[in-house]
Assembly symmetry: C2
Homo-oligomer: 946 residues x 2
Amino acid sequence: MAKSTKHVYFFGAGKAEGRGDQKVLLGGKGAGLASMTSIGLPVPAGFTITTDACALYQKNKKWPPGLEQQVKDSIKKLERVTKKKLGDPKDPLLVSVRSGGALSMPGMMETILNLGLTDKAVEGLAAKTNNPRFAWDAYRRFIQMYSTVVVGLSKDILEEKLHNLKHRLGIRNDPDIPAESLRELCGDFKAFFRSETGREFPDNPWEQLVGAINAVFNSWMADKAVTYRKVENITGLNGTGVNVQQMVFGNMGESSGTGVCFTRDPSTGENKFYGDYLVNAQGEDVVAGIRTPLPLTEMKRLQPDAYDQLCAVRAVLETHYKEMQDLEFTIEEGTFYMLQCRTGKRSPMAMFKIAVDHATKPLLSKSDAARLVKKKYLKKAVAAAACKPIITKEDAVKRIQPVDLERLFYPVIDTTYSKQALAEAKIAEGINAVPGAACGEITFSAEAAEERAAAGKKVILVRKETSPEDVGGMHAAQGILTQTGGPTSHAAVVARGWGKCCIVGCEALNIDYGRGELSVNGQTLRDGDTLTLDGSVGAVYRGALPLVMPKLPAEYYELMKWCDQLRRLKVRTNADTPYDSERAVEMGAEGIGLCRTEHMFFDTEERRLAIQEMIVADDIETRKAALAKLLPFQREDFIGIFEAMDGRPVTIRLVDPPLHEFTPKTPDQVKRLSDATGISPAKIESRCEQLHESNPMLGHRGCRLSITYPEILDMQVTAIIEAAVAVRKKGKKVAPEIMIPLAIDAKELGILVDQTRAVADAILKAAKINVPYMVGTMIETPRAALLADKVAEVAEFFSFGTNDLTQTTMALSRDDSGRFLPEYVDQKKAAIFKADPFQSLDQEGVGLLVQMGIEKGRSTKPNLKIGICGEHGGEGESVKFCHRAGMDYVSCSPFRVPIARLAAAQAVLAEGGKSKGQSKAKAKKAAAKPKKSTKAGKKGKKGRKA
Amino acid sequence: MAKSTKHVYFFGAGKAEGRGDQKVLLGGKGAGLASMTSIGLPVPAGFTITTDACALYQKNKKWPPGLEQQVKDSIKKLERVTKKKLGDPKDPLLVSVRSGGALSMPGMMETILNLGLTDKAVEGLAAKTNNPRFAWDAYRRFIQMYSTVVVGLSKDILEEKLHNLKHRLGIRNDPDIPAESLRELCGDFKAFFRSETGREFPDNPWEQLVGAINAVFNSWMADKAVTYRKVENITGLNGTGVNVQQMVFGNMGESSGTGVCFTRDPSTGENKFYGDYLVNAQGEDVVAGIRTPLPLTEMKRLQPDAYDQLCAVRAVLETHYKEMQDLEFTIEEGTFYMLQCRTGKRSPMAMFKIAVDHATKPLLSKSDAARLVKKKYLKKAVAAAACKPIITKEDAVKRIQPVDLERLFYPVIDTTYSKQALAEAKIAEGINAVPGAACGEITFSAEAAEERAAAGKKVILVRKETSPEDVGGMHAAQGILTQTGGPTSHAAVVARGWGKCCIVGCEALNIDYGRGELSVNGQTLRDGDTLTLDGSVGAVYRGALPLVMPKLPAEYYELMKWCDQLRRLKVRTNADTPYDSERAVEMGAEGIGLCRTEHMFFDTEERRLAIQEMIVADDIETRKAALAKLLPFQREDFIGIFEAMDGRPVTIRLVDPPLHEFTPKTPDQVKRLSDATGISPAKIESRCEQLHESNPMLGHRGCRLSITYPEILDMQVTAIIEAAVAVRKKGKKVAPEIMIPLAIDAKELGILVDQTRAVADAILKAAKINVPYMVGTMIETPRAALLADKVAEVAEFFSFGTNDLTQTTMALSRDDSGRFLPEYVDQKKAAIFKADPFQSLDQEGVGLLVQMGIEKGRSTKPNLKIGICGEHGGEGESVKFCHRAGMDYVSCSPFRVPIARLAAAQAVLAEGGKSKGQSKAKAKKAAAKPKKSTKAGKKGKKGRKA
C-alpha cells in the first residue's frame, strides 16, 4: 500500500471527490453525501475516510501510511470552505463523526456530535451565538458522547449526574437547565473522566478527532457488530467508512430553523410540497413533537428566501433521483443545508399518481422556475428539466411494484385508528394469505355462513381447514380464517381467486365445532362474536375495527394502459363462474386460462347429490344416469361463461380432484344422499371409506378419472360443446379450449384426446355448426414435462400447472409444508430458498422443467400454444420468467390480472424492450405488431440512459 | 402382383422352401414346420399358403393369379414325396388343413383332418389298413368337420345323430361303434348335407381342398377372429397362412404308435429322455388318459429302432434349438414322424441343471452317438456337436430369467395336490406381491402374531393394511395378507425384503378386527382358523395345504459364479439388521446399499417409547433426552451390521418417514407413552393429531426432519460413527456411508453434510481413530435429479431412490395407484405402460431423470459413486438399465440379490460383453480388472455367434 493511496474523499462547496456509486469504498452514507454534494445540493461540507483504510487499520492496528496527512489536509480544506477553524476560541468549527458501512448496520457505533469544542471554544461559541445555554449544552453533549462512545465510560453514571442536577434544580426538561448549571455539569463530567481514566479530557480538537476516528474503526470489530453481520449473513465487506462533517444548527435564532418534508403529498400524490417546519429549532425537536411544527406554507410566508431555496432543492432532487423524496434540512442563520434525503414512502394511490405525473407533467411551473433561476437558487439546465416530465412512461411502469398494485385493491384498517387499541384487540397471528381487511361475526360452518350472509349479516368463516364443500360459505363470508394450511392451501387459493381477505395457518386457534367456540391464547370467543382480520399482515383482532375501502385513481388506468401497450405476454384469468369472468375482464383479462369445472358441482344441493350419486354408483349405467342429471347444469354454466367472455378463449379443465372430495362428509349429508338414491347409509359410508387415499395429491384424480370412468369425460365434453353450439346459434363468438389435467404420458393423453374429439365432432356434425375448439393438456407432472415432445404430438396447447408441478418436482405438499417450509425460506436461518416456491416459481428447479417442457413441446409442434395457470401466473417474478421462457400467456386470479399485466410489461422493459430468445412462433407474433415493439425498444433504452 | 409371386412354400423329405424366421409370411405354424423340416427332422410333408395370398383373397374375393397352379403343383409334389395319391381308391393320401397366423390366435378356425377321403378312397383305406372301423371313423370325422367348419352346418344336429346312433346301439364310447354303423352314419351325414345345402357332399378331393382353403381364408375375417384381434390389440397382420400336410396315423397296428416327451427330465433336469408312449394309438389317446402310456424305456425295448430314431431327433432338436424340447411324435407302420416341438416347461431346479449341463456336458455319449450315426439316423456333424456342450456359459446366463431365480427360492404348494381340492379350498384372490406359499392360523394383530409365533405357532397376519408398527408381527408371521395396497405397499415392500409370502389388495376381504372375523365371498373365518396363501399367484385358500420347500441345486451356484465373472455392476442389498445382512452376504451381496434406520425404532417397547417421547416433546431439551435413550440402541445395531458386513460398504440412511408413522395408534399405546413420560393422554393425542398430513409422501420427512430437528441427525451420526470406532477398535474393517434422504436442494444438503461431518470428525478426533466414511444423498425427487450438478458438489455419492422418484415424477402414489394403475398396464385395454412402473423402472420418463442426474452429477464430480436403492434394484430390466446408465451398483432385498447379479451379467452380454457408454470413472475401473472384462467380452461375442 503506497503513500499515494487515497484514503480520504472530500465533499463540499458543490464538489465531491467521491461518487454516489462508490458505496463499497465510501460506505452508504459517504456515497450519499458525495452524491448530494455533486448535484449541487447545499450539504454541510466534510470528508469520508474509506472502508479500505478501516480494513488496513484492522489488519495492522494502526493508521495506514498517508492517512494522517490526508485527514489533516482535509480538515484544512474544510476550514477554508466553512471559513471556521477547529478549536477557534471565537468561532470554532464543530464537526460530527459518524460510521457508515456499505450496508446499513444497526448495532454499529453511535454518532459523535459537536466535536471540536474545548474549554475555550465553548466560550467562543457562546459569545458568537449569544446563547451560552446552547453552547454549554453542546459541550455537555459532546463530553458525554465522547466519554461513553469513544472511551467507553458508563452511560448510566453520566445520565445519573444529569438526572441528579435536574432533581436538585427542580427541573423536568433538559432545555430548562440554565447555562451556568450546564457549565458545572461539564466540569463534573470531566472530573469523572479524569478519575476513571487517569488523564484529562482531551482539550485538543485533533486529539479528539483521532480518538473518534479510531473509535469508529474499532466499532467494526465490536462484538455486537460482528454478531450482527453473522446473523444477517453479511459477508465480503471491508470495514466501515468514517464521515467527518461540519455541524450546522437550526436553533441559532429566528433566521434559523429546521424541517422534514416530502416533495409530493405522500397520501394523494399531489404535486405540492408537504411537510413541517420549525423556526429556531433542531431536527430532533420536529421529531419529538414538543413544539407544533408549521406547515410549509407558513415557512413561505416567514422565510420566503429559505422557502425558495427549499423549492430549488426539491427541483434538483426530483430531476436527479427521478423519484419523490423525503428530506431533512436545516437553516443556520439564513443558510440552507440539506441533511438527508431518500425515496419517500407513499400510499398506493400516491404511487400511481406520482408515477403518472412524473411521466406526463412538469415538476415546476415556468414562472416558478424563472423565479428560482433569477434568485440563482436553481441552474438554468435544472430548471429546464423541471419544466418537462422527468421520466418516460416506461420508467413509470418499471417503478410500480406488484405489491403497490395489490395494496391498491384491498380494504384496510383505518390507519388513523389508535395503535394502542389495535395492539390490545389483537388475539393471534397467522399466515397472511390474501391481503386486505375484513370484519364480521364468527361462523364455524359454511352452511351457516351462507345462511347468515343471505340474511344480510357479515360473517368471518372460521375453520380448521376448508374443502371444496365449503366454497359456498367461503364466498358468502367477508373473510376466511383457518387454523391449518399454508399460503397455497385450499382456503388461500380459493380466497385469492376472489381477492377475499384470508388468514391461514393460525395454529394458535383451538376450534371446537361442537361447542361453537374458539379459544386462542387464553381467550375464548363464541359463534357470533365479532372478529376483524387484517389479511395483509395476518393479524386477527377481537371486535370490529374501522375499515377503509380504496377507490382506484385515474392514474391506475393510465398506467395499466401503458403496460398493455408494452407487453407481449397475454394475460388470462382463472375463473369458474360468469360473475368471476366478467370481473376478470374488467381487470383486463384477455381470456380464461383455467376454468375449473368441479366447483360447479357444489353450487346447489341438486348438483351435489347428482355428483355423489355418480360416485357411489356400482355400475356404469347408474353412473351415466347420474351424470345425465349434471349435464344440463354444466351446459348452462358454460353458456354463461362463454357469453361473459364474448369470444375470448376459454380454457376449461375437465374434472380434476379425487372423487372423495365430493363425497358426503356428515351423517346428515349421507342421509340426504341415501334418501335421494335409495342406497343404504352403510353402503354409502363404506363406498366413501373405500375412496380414502394415503396421498390424494398423487392419487386417483385428473385424467386418471377419465381413463377409469370415460363417461365423465363424455358428459363434460358434451356440456362444453353443446354450450358452444348454443352460444354460436345466438350469433355470438365462442372459443373453447378443452384441457385434460394431470397427463403423464402421450399415449394416455392420446386416448383421451381422441375420445374428446369423437364426442365433440359428433355434436357439431349433428348441429351442423362449425365451432373451432382446441384440445390440450396441463403440464403439471415432471414426467409430462420430461416427455413434452411426445405429449405435444397429441396436444394442441400446454398449460403449465405449476402448483402441482412444484409439489411433485420438490416432493412438497403445499398443504403440509407449513411445518417446515418457513425454515427453508427464513433468510435469517437456512435461507435455502429465496422465496416460498408456491408463491414465486422455483425458477432454478421447477423452472428448468418448465423450460424443458416448452423446448421439447415446440420441438415437435412449433406453433404449440403455451401458458401457465398455476398460482404463479399472478406473481411478478414468475410472470417475468414465463415471458423469458417464451410462453404465450399467463393466467391468474382476477385480482392478480393487473399484476400480471404489469410484470409482463416490465419483462419486456427488462430485455430493453426488444423481442429476444423467442421461438419462431413468438418472433412472428412480435413481428406482427412492429409499432409497439419498436416503441417499447426505444423508450426502454432511453429510460435506462436517463 | 405378377404371376411369378410365390404363394406356396413346400416342405418335406428333408427340405423346406420356407424358413423358421418367416413367421409373418408363413404364419407361426408354417414357419415351424419349415424349420423342423430343414434341420432334418422327419416331419410329415406338406405345404404352406402364405398370409399374403390370404390378404389378396380378402381384397379381391378370389384366389390371386398363380395360386391354383402352385397348389396343384404342390399336391403333385406331395404325392411324389409320400408315394400316395389324393383320392387314390387303394392307398389314398389324406391331408390336414390348418390355419396359422403370425401370432397364435384362439378363435380362428379349427383343423380339418382326413381331407381326401371319398366314398371310394375310404374303402381303399379300409383295405390297406385292414381296419374298416378306423377308415369309416376317419371318414365320419372328415364329413362332420367339413360340414360344420367349411360349410357351416349345425354342429349340434350332427352330434345328435352320433349320440342317437350310440343310444340305439347301447354303446357309450365312440371307439366301440362298429364299422358298419359308422358307414351308415356317414350316409346319414351326407343326406343331411344334401338336404341342407341342396347339393351332394363333395366327393372330389380337389373340390374338398379348395373349399377347406377358402374356409381358412374366410376365417380370418370371421367376427370372432376380428373381435379377438381387436381385444388383443393385434394390428399390422395380413392374414392367416394355410397349412396342408400329410396325415399320419399311429393307430395303424403294432408297428405304429404315438408319444409325447421331453428331451430332459423337466422336474430334475437330468439328461435323460422323459415321456410317455402308446403302441397303436393316436396322440389324443395319450392326452385323454384312457390307456395307460408306457415309459420310454419300454418303447426302447418294444421298438428299438423307433426309439433310436427318437434319440436322434432329440439330438437334432437340442443341438439346433439349444434348448430342452417338448415334442409330439407318431410312428406310422415303423416310420417316425415329428408332429410338433417347442421349448419345454420345467421346474426351477431343472432350469439351472439343464442350463449348466448344456454349457458343460455333452448331450450324447460317444457310443450312443456312434450307434445313431451307424444306423443313419443321425448325421455325423450333428453327432459331433451333440458330443460337446451345446451352448456357452454366456448362453446359459442369458437363458435364465429373473422369474426362474425367484421360483427357486420360494416354498410352493405341493404340485401333486389334487387340483379339484385346490379349487374347492380357494376363497379369494389378491395381488401376488411376494411369491411362495405359506400356511398358518389367521391372526389379526401384529402383537398377537408375535406372541403366537413365540409360542411356536405358525401364523398368517391378516390386516386391512400394515404400518411400521406392525413390522415385528409381520416378521413373526409365515405370510401376510392385506385387504388394501398394491405390489409396493408397505406390506409388500417389507415382505419382499424378507422373501416372505405376501398377498395384498385382496379387496374381497371384509375384516372385522373387533369381532376377530373376516368374511369373504360369503364365507366367514375366525381368528385362529387356518389359511394357506400362494403368493406366486395371489390365491388365498381355506385350511392347510401341503407345502414343499425348495433346495438349491449345485448348478445354481455354478451359474451365479459365471454371472459374477461377467458383470461390472456391483450388487448390494437393502438390509436393516445383522441377520438380514448375513443372509444377504450369503445371497452374494457385496455391501449394503440401503440400511433403513427407522425400522430399528420399533424393535422393542423401550425403543418405541423413546422415539415417541422424542416426538411428543415440546422443547429441544426433552427431545435430546429422548434421543439420548435411543443412541445406545442404534449404536449396537450398527455395530452388529458392520461386523456382519465385515468391511463391505454399508450405506446408512438417516431417518426418513414422517414422524407420525411412529406415533402411538391405540389408546393402550397412548396410555403406555403417557405412563412413561408423564404427559397426559389428551396432550399426546393432540400432538399426534397435529402431525397428521394430507399427503405424507410429500410432507415433513426425510432430511426435512433434520433441518427442523438437527438433534435427530446428531444422534444418528453419533451412533454410526461411534459404532464404526468400536468395530475398528476390535481390529475389524468398516466402511460406513451416511446417506441423507429426500434432498431437494444443494444448499439444504450442504447444511446437513456439514453438520454430519462436524459431528463425525469430532468423534473420530476424540477417539484418535481414522475411519474413512462417506456422506452422500438419495436422489429421489425430480428437483434433486434436475439440479444434480449442484447437489454433487456437496455429496460424495448418489443413491437413486427410484420408489419415491417414480411417485413424484409420475405424480403416482404407490399406495393409492391400485385403483387405476391396473388399467394403465392392462395390455388388453389402454396399455399405456408396458409394466407397473413400481416394479420395473419407467425407463422412458423416470429413467430420463436418472440419466440426467447421473450425467449432471458426474459433470461436476467425475468420480461420483452412483447406485440405486429403490425396489427396482432387484428387477431384471431395471438392473440392465442401471448398467447402461453407468451406475456403480444396484441394491435390493436380500432375496433379489441373485436376480440383480444375473441381470447385471446379462446387461454385459447384451452389449457384446464390452464396456461401452461408460463414464471415465467407469472406464478406469473396468481397466483395473482387465481379465474379467476381456474374458466377458470374448465370451459375449462367441455366445452371439454360436
